[in-house]
C-alpha cells in the first residue's frame, strides 16, 4: 500500500485546496459590512439596506448579508423584500435558527393568508431533512462518498490477505448504495434549483390578471411578501402560481423578484 500513498495524497490535497478556488473579499468590503451593521443599529435602516444591496451587487453571496438586509427591510415595513432576503439567506444557511425565526415573523405579518403558515414552499423547505443541507454541501458529501468507495476498490485490488479483500467487498457494497442515494438527492436538488424558480411579491400590492397585459381580467390580488412559483416570463410580465396551484395568473415582472 505504501507504494500508492502519493495517489491518495494528491487526492487529499486537491480536496483541501477546493475552497481556495473562491474569490475572497477585500478587507475594505469586510469593514463596509461592519459599518453597515452600525448604521442598522443606529436605526438608519434605509441607508443600511442600500449598502447591503451594494455589497451583494458586488458579487458577495453571504447568508449574513441577506439576513441583515432582510432585517433592514423588515424594519422599514417592506415585508416583500424582507421575506425575499430571508429566503435567500435560508438557502445559504438552511440550519440557522435566527433566519428561520425572522422569516416566520415576516410571514406572520403579511396580508395574504395561505393554507399553511408560509405556504406550501415553506413546508417543502422544512419537512425534508436533506433540505437542511445546501446543494454545495450535498455535492461535497457525495464526492466524499465516492472517494471512500474508490479507496475500497483499491484495497480490493491490492490487498493480499483474502479476509481483507472479503471485508472490502462488503464495505464497497454498502458505500456504493450510499453513493447512489446521495447522488440521487444531490441530482434532484440540482435539478429543482435549476428548474423550479420561486418569486416573492415585492410590491406593496399587485393585481393578478389572467394574461400578460393590463387588458386582461383581474383574478385576485397579492400583497407584499407573498411567495409563488414562477411559471413563465413574457416581456415585462411574469406568470406565477400560488401554493396549491389553484391560483395562478400574471403580474408585472417589476412586482416580483426571483429568489
Amino acid at each position: 500500500m505504501t507504494r500508492h500513498l502519493p495517489l491518495f495524497a494528491l487526492l487529499v490535497v486537491a480536496l483541501a485546496l477546493w475552497p481556495a478556488t473562491l474569490r475572497a473579499a477585500s478587507p475594505g468590503d469586510l469593514d463596509a459590512v461592519a459599518a453597515t451593521n452600525a448604521l442598522y443599529e443606529s436605526g438608519r435602516y434605509v441607508e443600511a439596506a442600500l449598502v447591503y444591496e451594494q455589497l451583494i451587487d458586488r458579487g458577495y453571496e453571504s447568508g449574513t448579508l441577506y439576513y441583515n438586509l432582510g432585517n433592514a427591510y423588515f424594519k422599514q415595513g417592506d415585508l416583500g423584500r424582507a421575506i425575499l432576503n430571508y429566503r435567500r439567506a435560508e438557502k445559504l444557511y438552511p440550519r440557522d435558527a435566527d433566519i428561520r425565526a425572522n422569516l416566520k415573523i415576516a410571514r406572520d405579518h403579511r396580508a395574504d393568508v395561505f393554507e399553511e403558515a408560509g405556504g406550501a414552499f415553506a413546508i417543502e423547505s422544512t419537512s425534508n431533512p436533506t433540505n437542511r443541507l445546501t446543494l454545495d454541501e450535498l455535492a461535497l458529501f457525495t464526492l466524499a462518498v465516492w472517494v471512500v468507495l474508490a479507496m475500497l476498490v483499491l484495497v480490493l485490488l491490492f490487498a493480499k490477505r483474502r479476509s481483507v479483500r472479503k471485508s472490502a467487498v462488503y464495505a464497497s457494497v454498502v458505500v456504493g448504495l450510499a453513493l447512489l442515494l446521495s447522488a440521487s438527492v444531490t441530482g434532484e436538488r440540482w435539478y429543482s434549483e435549476g428548474a423550479d424558480h420561486e418569486v416573492v411579491v415585492v410590491a406593496e400590492m399587485v393585481d393578478v390578471v389572467s394574461g400578460p397585459g393590463t387588458n386582461y381580467a383581474q383574478e385576485f390580488t397579492l400583497h407584499g411578501g407573498s411567495e409563488a412559483r414562477l411559471l413563465e416570463q413574457r416581456g415585462s410580465w411574469t406568470r406565477l402560481s400560488l401554493p396549491g396551484g389553484d391560483l395562478q395568473g400574471w403580474v408585472p415582472s417589476s412586482a416580483v423578484e426571483e429568489l
Binding site: L15, A24, V33, S62, N68, L135, A150
Partner: protein, 577 residues
C-alpha cells in the same frame, strides 16, 4: 277509586281550604278549640263544611262530632289533619277536623258547642247556627276577612330593604331580607340573593331569628343581612329576592318575592385632599420594618397596614416611599376581613422589600393615607411615623435577595432577531460547485487512481509471469507455494496444482489425464525410487480426495500441507536433477 270529578272536588276542595287556613286558625290568640262553618246560609241538599280546630301541647284529643238540631243533616265525610310546629322552643300541635254536612230539610241548623279537655281544663266552642233555605240559594259575596283571620299571603311574607337608601359611593349599606312566618320558624329558607348590580358585596354578614308582633299576630322572623358597597353613583335597583317556600303535608310549594329596592348613591363631596384615591370608611395606617439595622445588600422588609372599617378588598394601596439609593420590590397585598356586628372590618397589608446598596443611617419617610368618613362626612388623612434604618457594611459575597412575587416569564412583545455580526470573510462564489469543472475533475481523480491501480496490478502479474518462466521448475513450484502461503489460498488446491505442474514439466508431458498407475510407471521409468513413487501416488490421491470431498480431510493445517508438498518436490528434484 274511580270517583267522579265532582266528588273529588267536593272532598278535596274543603280539605285544601281548611288546610290553607290551618296556620291561621292555629296561631290565633283564641281558645284552644274553635269551630266554624264555611257559610251560614245554604240550601237544602247543599254541602256545608264544618271545621274544628284544636291546638294544644304536646297532644290534643280528637273532638267528637257535635250534636246538630233543627234540621235533618247527613254527614257525608270526615277528615282530620294535624301539624306539629316548634315556636320559641315550644312544641305545639294543630289538629283540624273537617265534616262535610248535607242538610236535608229547611230550617235553622244549630251546631251545639264542642268540648275538649286539655290539661284537665274543659274548653268548648261557641254554638253555630246555619240557615237552611228550601230550593236554590244564591249566597252573598264573601265578607272581608274578619279581624284576627289571616289569609295565606298574610301568614307568610317576605320583605327587603336597605338600612341606608342614600349612601355615599363606597360606603357600606346592609341589604336586609326578612321572612315572616305566622307559623313560627320553619325550615331554613331557600334564599336566592339577587344580582347586586352596581355594588361590591361581601355575601351574608349576619343572620338573625326573632319574634315580633304584627297586626296583633306573633311572627317568627328570619333576617339575613348582606353588606353592599356601591361602586357607582346614581339610582341603583336591587332586583327582588326570591324565597322558595317548601311544600309540607297537603300544602304545595310556593315562591315569595320581595319588592324591588332602590338605592340612591351619592358621589363623594368636594374638597378631597391631595393623595386621596377613593378610600371610604374609618381607617388607620401603620408601618413597621422587620429589622432596624441591616447590612448592605441585606433585605429590609417594610410592612404597611391599612386597617379599619370599609371595603378593605377594594381599598387603594397607599403610595409607598422610595429610599434614595435602595433597590425595592413590592409584593402583592394581603387582605384580611371579617364582619363584626354586620360591619366589614379588616386590614390590608403591603410589603416592600428594600435592599440597601450603601452603608449609613437612612430614614423611611412618613406614609400618608386619605379617606372619606361617611359617618362624619369629612375627609381624613392618617400618617405613619418615619422609620430609621441603620445600614452597616455588608459582606462582599452577600447574595442579592430573591425577588418577591416571581412569575412565569411571558412574552410582552415580538420583534425580529437582531442582525448578524460582520463575517470574518466574504465569498464571491461562481455558482454551485456542481457547475464548476474542478468539481467533476475531483470526481475523475479517484477513477483515475482506480484505473491506474488496476493497470499497475495487471502489469505486475505479467512481470511476475515473465520472471517465472526463466527459472527451474522446482524454483517456480516453490514460489507458487510461497504465494499460496501469503494469500491464504486453499492448500490442497495449491499443492495439487504445483505438483501437477512440476511433474508435467519434468516428465515432458501433461499428467492431468493419467491414471495413478500410469503416473507411477512414468516415474519408475525415470528412475525414481519405488518408495518415493508410492509416496507421490498416495499424496496425489489424498489431495484429489480432499479437493473433491472437503469433509474427508484429516486434521492437517494448510501450512503443513504446503510444507509436505515442498519436501516431496525436493525429494523428486533429487532424481530429476
Amino acid at each position: 277509586m274511580n270517583m267522579p270529578s265532582k266528588w273529588k272536588l267536593a272532598l278535596i276542595g274543603p280539605l285544601a281550604a281548611s288546610l290553607a287556613m290551618l296556620p291561621v286558625i292555629g296561631l290565633a290568640q283564641e281558645p284552644p278549640i274553635k269551630a266554624e262553618v264555611d257559610r251560614n246560609e245554604v240550601a237544602v241538599n247543599d254541602v256545608l263544611t264544618l271545621t274544628v280546630t284544636v291546638k294544644g301541647s304536646p297532644v290534643v284529643p280528637n273532638p267528637a262530632l257535635p250534636q246538630m238540631d233543627g234540621v235533618d243533616v247527613t254527614v257525608l265525610s270526615r277528615s282530620t289533619a294535624s301539624q306539629l310546629s316548634i315556636f320559641s322552643g315550644k312544641t305545639s300541635v294543630l289538629a283540624v277536623s273537617h265534616y262535610r254536612l248535607k242538610p236535608l230539610s229547611p230550617g235553622t241548623l244549630t251546631i251545639a258547642p264542642i268540648s275538649i279537655t286539655l290539661s284537665g281544663e274543659v274548653h268548648e266552642t261557641e254554638p253555630i247556627t246555619v240557615e237552611v233555605h228550601p230550593g236554590a240559594f244564591n249566597p252573598r259575596p264573601d265578607p272581608e276577612p274578619a279581624p284576627g283571620n289571616l289569609t295565606v299571603a298574610e301568614t307568610f311574607f317576605v320583605k327587603a330593604e336597605v338600612d341606608n337608601p342614600n349612601p355615599y359611593i363606597g360606603e357600606q349599606i346592609d341589604y336586609i331580607f326578612r321572612f315572616h312566618s305566622a307559623l313560627g320558624f320553619v325550615n331554613p329558607p331557600r334564599y336566592d340573593s339577587p344580582p347586586f348590580i352596581g355594588f361590591w358585596h361581601e355575601g351574608e354578614t349576619d343572620s338573625r331569628r326573632y319574634e315580633m308582633f304584627l297586626n296583633e299576630r306573633e311572627y317568627g322572623v328570619i333576617e339575613l343581612r348582606t353588606a353592599l358597597f356601591p361602586t357607582v353613583t346614581g339610582t341603583l335597583t336591587i332586583e327582588p329576592t326570591r324565597y322558595g317556600f317548601p311544600s309540607a303535608g297537603f300544602r304545595s310549594s310556593r315562591q315569595l318575592l320581595t319588592d324591588t329596592v332602590r338605592v340612591d348613591v351619592r358621589p363623594l363631596p368636594s374638597g378631597a385632599p391631595a393623595g386621596f384615591d377613593g378610600a371610604v370608611g374609618q381607617l388607620d395606617i401603620d408601618a413597621k420594618v422587620d429589622v432596624a439595622s441591616a447590612a448592605v445588600n441585606e433585605p429590609v422588609t417594610l410592612t404597611v397596614i391599612v386597617s379599619g372599617t370599609g371595603n378593605i378588598d377594594t381599598l387603594p394601596d397607599p403610595l409607598l416611599p422610595e429610599v434614595a439609593g435602595w433597590r425595592s420590590f413590592v409584593g402583592p397585598p394581603a387582605v384580611d376581613t371579617q364582619a363584626v356586628d354586620g360591619r366589614i372590618i379588616g386590614s390590608r397589608s403591603i410589603e416592600r422589600i428594600f435592599v440597601p446598596t450603601a452603608e449609613g443611617e437612612f430614614m423611611i419617610p412618613s406614609i400618608s393615607y386619605s379617606y372619606f368618613d361617611p359617618t362624619t362626612e369629612l375627609y381624613e388623612t392618617v400618617s405613619t411615623d418615619p422609620i430609621a434604618v441603620s445600614v452597616t457594611p455588608g459582606s462582599v459575597d452577600a447574595l442579592p435577595p430573591l425577588q418577591a412575587g416571581r412569575d412565569q416569564v411571558e412574552r410582552v412583545g415580538t420583534d425580529i432577531r437582531h442582525i448578524m455580526p460582520a463575517p470574518s470573510s466574504l465569498d464571491q462564489p461562481e455558482g454551485p460547485i456542481v457547475e464548476r469543472p474542478t468539481y467533476w475533475a475531483a470526481w475523475a481523480l479517484p477513477l483515475i487512481v482506480i484505473l491506474a491501480g488496476t493497470g499497475w496490478k495487471v502489469l505486475g502479474n505479467a512481470r511476475r509471469r515473465r520472471t517465472a518462466t526463466g527459472v527451474a521448475p522446482h524454483t517456480r513450484a516453490m514460489m507458487s507455494l510461497d504465494n499460496a502461503r501469503q494469500q491464504d489460498d486453499d492448500p490442497y488446491d495449491t499443492a495439487a496444482a504445483v505438483l501437477t505442474s512440476y511433474l508435467s514439466e519434468m516428465l515432458g508431458q501433461p499428467i492431468s489425464g493419467l491414471t495413478h498407475q500410469a503416473l507411477a510407471q512414468l516415474l519408475v521409468d525415470r528412475g525414481v525410487d519405488e518408495g518415493l513413487v508410492e509416496t507421490v501416488e498416495s499424496y496425489v490421491a489424498t489431495t484429489e480426495r480432499v479437493r473433491f470431498a472437503p469433509g474427508s480431510a484429516e486434521d492437517t493445517s494448510g501450512e503443513s500441507v504446503l510444507d509436505e508438498t515442498a519436501k516431496l518436490l525436493a525429494d523428486l528434484d533429487g532424481y530429476f536433477a
